[in-house]
Symmetry: C2
Subunit: 351 residues, 2 copies
């Protein structure tokens, strides 16, 4: 029996709704598989934990999470309780950093039954590889002077190592897809980091002659996700550019509620982390209408990551059959509850 | 007779096509007005100038441009001739910096006859106020170490003065519109500059009690321009965020070929500069199919800026009547040439 030990952090808001629902589905998948079992350790880290303990996680939190095979996360953040930069740097970004989850992979594709806000979207299928550990997300910098003279300086830090690693990952991925990598740049406006980014991209491309490449400025690229998403295969982007592009990617799919992501540790020293792109959505908490697809598609990426691609595909196909049959939550134009959608998925995942 | 002295820089690529066409329209407008005259001084600055002279503009270029009332610019950049960061920091960004064009105002609205790529866009009318002088576009920073160890550091510099100024401009603008300002932030991920940005926004908002405000993270905001553009009135954004949002704004309008912008000098010491959002579009140069609307809408902003709002509205209405009647270039789904579109506009601008 293959056991996968998951550290489960529902986190805040709808994370606490979609995560338990997804565990039911993972258990059903394991049952179908026969030789697979998930073991869960639950962690109540999040904004409520902060209000009680003054910290987003326990002192030995990272150590305990580190004993899992993967972390399965819902959503972090609730600005009505804790300022975002505290909750996120204390939990989500802390895990990304300390577990060296240096790559964030996020797909955006036409999803069965879910209507895109685009008028005539051609069939698109994009995979964004986001550098996930440095760049624009940096704690280096600070503030100086007071009052009207105050300035804030934010240092973006780009290393050759992490930049190259994200790009290599993108090129490897492109080999098993349509063979094209687009680099999100802004070397026309951003003076030091982006010309550097371009150089590393050219160097990486030189090692993968059979992959076609394009470099596009982030402004034009974000716009082009709206006008011509079918032009893209793999897109490699810095931390911030990847953040923006994947939200636009989620938007053209029809809802941020369905977009998944995998935060990958590549050196084998720590677990990887799987979380949907959406946030904690305080406005719909408790209404039972959260879209479970984002968290479940995330579970599919987790299955793939642990070598269970067959189960991963089964889960994705089942979800698409359910949404295509009109079992949709309100965010994607339906009138079904989360439970109804999940129930449909469970019942189609019978032997 | 009121004279407006324009420094005209067609620049590169299609800039050299749409600028001369727009001057014809400006002259026609002046003729209709009766009491208005444009005086042009032409400058051949751009990538070809660089190839000849080793610089993007003459040594006394800034001084000569500075003698105009406004600069009317086409497009800068042609990576096949000069690397972008050289051409842009040597001309476009140089003018923005040295003339202290600290605000960049860019509208995005449903434009008569031009089809949005969105399926069912509600009537949207957004005005993005972009901080145009600092932030992520900074020459502070550099590179260190060699080979695999190399790092690039890019310093984003945010001053209270310029941040507040952009926000004040946004709030003033909102007073004559629907009374709502959205701040584009990323204080959940970007550690120093964006919490600072939020503080200045709260402080500015406190001085404008009657204006409603929202703060939205740039990733969610870019996505929301696609899913709910009708929710926005005035949006204030940092240099980079404004750059990205206005390209997405152009995309949802139907083409980057129609989006205009005004780079405003607020201290009265230098001319302001008017340029479309699109670039030099090397791929369509010489084909006669460049969309003139972006440059012409820019001319409308120039007219407004010089107190000729009536003429500005006439020009905008005339353009919309022409596009609504189907006189469209290929980028917006038509089969007309630039000349045909301009000819229609000219002939409707008769007394
Ligand atoms: C060409 C480039 C430097 C410029 C910018 O990023 O400001 C352009 O994208 C714009 O929006 O005017
Ligand atoms: C919550 C926030 C810090 C985070 C990010 O910016 O990385 C989120 O937007 C994401 O994309 O996972």
């Amino acid at each position: 029996m293959k056991k996968i030990k998951l550290a489960v952090i529902p986190g805040d808001g709808i994370g606490r709704e979609v995560v338990p629902a997804s565990l039911k589905v993972l258990d059903r998948i394991a049952g179908l598989h026969g030789g697979l079992k998930f073991e869960y350790e639950h962690f109540d880290y999040g904004c409520d934990y902060y209000l009680k303990h003054g910290d987003m996680m326990a002192e030995d939190g990272m150590e305990r999470l580190g004993q899992s095979d993967s972390v399965f996360l819902g959503a972090v953040g609730d600005a009505s309780k804790v300022p975002d930069h505290i909750s996120l740097w204390g939990l989500l970004l802390k895990i990304r950093r300390e577990f060296q989850l240096e790559i964030n992979v996020r797909p955006a594709k036409v999803f069965g039954g879910i209507k895109s806000p685009l008028a005539n979207p051609e069939d698109f299928d994009i995979m964004v590889v986001r550098e996930n550990s440095e760049g624009e997300y940096s704690s280096v910098g600070g503030r100086m002077f007071q009052g009207d003279d105050e300035i804030a300086i934010q240092n973006n830090v780009f290393s050759k190592r992490a930049t190259k690693q994200a790009m290599e990952h993108a090129f490897e991925l492109a080999k098993s897809r349509s063979g094209h990598v687009t680099s999100a740049t802004k070397s026309n406006g951003i003076f030091h980091s982006m010309p550097f980014w371009d150089e590393v991209f050219r160097e990486t491309a030189a090692g993968h002659q059979r992959i076609e490449t394009t470099s596009t400025h982030i402004d034009a690229l974000a716009a082009s996700f709206v006008t011509h998403p079918e032009r893209y295969d793999v897109v490699v982007a810095s931390n911030l550019f990847g953040d923006i592009l994947t939200d636009v990617g989620a938007a053209i799919m029809g809802s941020i509620g369905i977009a998944p992501s995998a935060n990958l540790n590549l050196n084998g020293k720590h677990p990887s982390m799987f979380e949907p792109v959406h946030g904690s959505a305080p406005d719909i908490v408790g209404k039972g209408i959260a879209n479970p697809i984002g968290q479940l598609w995330t579970a599919k990426m987790l299955l793939d990551h642990h070598g269970e691609e067959e189960m991963g595909s089964l889960l994705l196909d089942t979800m698409e059959s359910v949404t295509a049959d009109g079992f949709l939550t309100p965010d994607v134009g339906g009138c079904h509850t989360m439970d109804e959608v999940v129930q449909q998925i469970l019942s189609r995942l019978q032997k």
